[in-house]
């Protein structure tokens, strides 16, 4: 069985050298980094609370702005905690915009087994529509240089892209870009923005669903496809009856938390809210009260109105954060609900037709013909 697991999304800094048009982290002049003495308190506290597996997601802002020495010290702190407590493992993952990656960073990531995700929206014209420097200049060549350094070192490279409304008709070229780069994995996140920000970039749920169905097909019928966790988890869920993503799994308020540079903690990076509505307390006061407040939070899954939906057990109303952003209430369904239904059905039809192709049993539907 899995050890008790906690994933912590660390907003290392709110500063960023990019000015992406869809970013949900508000521009900040606050130079603070998440203090390492609080980091020590956090990981040691989780070990004391009996978490045998701690997953750290270093995010921002741009997390590389913290500098290499910051992470070297963090890793030393982690080693100290692992040595002190039996049966505790700590894994590091970092999500960077890639522009600051140097050979030193690549070496550090490799030596310390960091999983690295690189944010890039595709080829230059796509990327530079929304992912630009604060002065509006292109980020593409700098990101590609960072990506090349990682690839030259044999690093497993993943890119994370945001699917905005002005990208949904460009997924063929996006997939070709992923393939040309021989990337190990790719993921496409939806652009879901708070009501007050750049809502023209947000695709309608059905538009998103249609685009993701198309991307699914490009990937599913590829003879040598890269990994795509979203699609692979979707397919797994059709066989297991439950989904491995936090967005579609009732563990949302159980196995995840987030911390900001002040030390304030929240249940998720998407629920960091100035109102304090979801605040769990400050890690400076110790982990106990944070965990106490964490356990009190829940989402009323029975009240989401999903009981009439056949995908309920694979979806559970989607992302709590996206629901809150769209409706101001976590006890509502994800903004993308209708798109999820389309994608689940599409994946189900494609997989069912394919597995029937592999057996003597013939499908009752005509989908198989579409796959010839």
């Amino acid at each position: 069985m899995h050890p008790k697991t906690m994933s912590v999304i660390i907003r290392t800094t709110e500063k960023c050298n990019f000015g992406c048009k869809y970013c949900y982290v508000k521009p900040s002049s606050d130079d603070r980094l998440f203090p390492l003495h609080l980091f020590e308190k956090l990981v040691e506290g989780l070990a004391e609370e009996g978490y045998g597996r701690v997953l750290l997601y270093w995010h921002g802002g741009e997390p590389l702005l913290a500098g290499l020495d910051y992470y070297r010290t963090a890793v030393q702190i982690e080693k100290g905690v692992v040595e002190k407590y039996d049966n505790v493992t700590i894994e590091n993952k970092i999500q960077t915009n890639g522009s600051l990656v140097t050979q030193e960073w690549v070496d550090f990531f490799g030596e310390n087994e960091f999983g690295v995700g690189l944010s890039l929206d595709g080829e230059q014209t796509m990327n530079d529509r929304n992912r630009v420097y604060r002065n509006g200049q292109s980020t593409f060549s700098d990101v590609m240089r960072g990506l090349a350094l990682m690839q030259e070192a044999g690093f497993k490279t993943n890119i994370l892209s945001v699917l905005t409304r002005n990208h949904i008709d460009r997924l063929d070229s996006h997939y070709a870009f992923v393939k040309d780069l021989k990337l190990k994995t790719f993921k496409v996140n939806p652009c879901v923005v708070n009501k007050c920000e750049n809502s023209e970039l947000q695709a309608h749920p059905q538009e998103w669903g249609q685009a993701m169905m198309h991307l699914f097909d490009l990937w599913f019928f590829d003879e040598n496809p890269p990994h795509n966790r979203e699609f692979e988890f979707l397919i797994q869920s059709l066989f297991m009856g439950w989904h491995m993503f936090c967005t579609n799994n009732k563990t949302c308020f159980k196995n995840f938390m987030s911390v900001v540079p002040s030390g304030e903690m929240f249940p998720c990076a998407k629920l960091i809210d100035d109102s304090g509505r979801f605040g769990l307390g400050n890690i400076a006061s110790g982990i106990s009260s944070v965990m106490h407040n964490h356990k009190k939070l829940s989402r009323n899954y029975d009240g989401l109105g999903c009981d009439k939906c056949k995908w309920e057990r694979l979806c559970y109303g989607g992302c709590t954060g996206y629901a809150y952003w769209a409706h101001g209430d976590i006890n509502t369904r994800d903004y993308l609900c209708e798109g999820y239904k389309m994608l689940f059905q599409h994946g189900y039809d494609r997989v069912r037709a394919q597995i029937w192709k592999g057996t003597a049993r013939r499908p009752k539907t005509t989908l198989q013909e579409a796959l010839q």
Binding site: H2, F239, M244
Partner: protein, 67 residues
Amino acid sequence: MTVETLSVNQLAQAKGHPILGRVFREISQIAAMELKEPWSGSDWSGMQWGGGDWAGAQWSGGDSSSW
């Protein structure tokens, strides 16, 4: 009302497909940790998953997994 779960036995027969083969291997690994009863056979019929409250659920916000 819920969708009928697809058969892992059928998936096993479709593992020549690059993605379904990959998914089958991953499900096999998850099964070693998540099935309610120890299992080492080849017939997946009636397997009882412990999931739905899985500690290993992954954050969807980033993609920095080490495959």
